[in-house]
Amino acid sequence: MSHWGWVALAYGVTYGSLAAFAASIAIRIRKTRTTLGENQ
């Protein structure tokens, strides 16, 4: 793989996992608020 290929893999892992981690927290907050009967 070229240097830029490795760089793209590293940044894909970083930004992809950050987005997934943040989304998991945001979804759990939304679900819990819904269960508590709070509107978004």
């Binding site: 793989m1 240097h3 830029w4 590293a10 950050l18 943040a22 927290i25 759990r28 508590l36």
Partner: protein, 244 residues
Amino acid sequence: MTAQTRTRRWPWAASALSLLGAFTLAMVSPADSVQGDLVRIMYVHVPAAWLAYLAFAVTFVGSIAYLVARRLSWDRIAAASAEIGVYFTGLTIALGMIWGKSTWGVWWTWDARLTLTAIMFFVYLGYLALRRTTDDPIARANRAAVLGIVGAVQIPLVHFSVVWWRGLHQPPSIIRPDGPAIQDSMMLVALFVGVVAFTVVYVSLMVKRIELMHLDDRLDAAERAGDQPVAGEAVTAPNLGGSA
């Protein structure tokens, strides 16, 4: 969009903006004379490692503060920070493996830095598992605080492992006795902005994770209240004649 919604979304907006700035600088900074463009992996690998240290240091402080003040809010801070620290440690290891394969030719080697980082990852996974062994918030906070304090011993061990033991991993780039190894000012700026951006992300994740913990506590309280029949639903509370 209501003002309340805007308030709830500021951490995500701040994170996205800071990461965009860090990404731009990492891409426009010069290539390294030895590693070429592979040096750009440093701008995410090093900040991820630093944020892992910071997160576990906050867990350490939160654990001590809980044992001193006995306030569960400190325990929540320690727990939220440990969870985010585990994420950043996992990210550090993954990025290190990518960098290792592209420069050393191997995904993994039993170098002191790599081994100790993996141990730190599993110890804090254990911290999170320990928190799930009981529903009693006081017992949970007490047990977790002990591991949160003891586990912090690993932070200097991991950081200085490349100084104390010879291995494949390079020595520290910034905090070293003879000054930073990176001489190019643009590279230093890109690395600094990367650390700042990841710190903004860490703070945002902390704000949201603690918000979720508060919501979970309210949900637990509501469920507990729902499980127990309230006398007032069926009967009128007797007047015992006492003054209110």
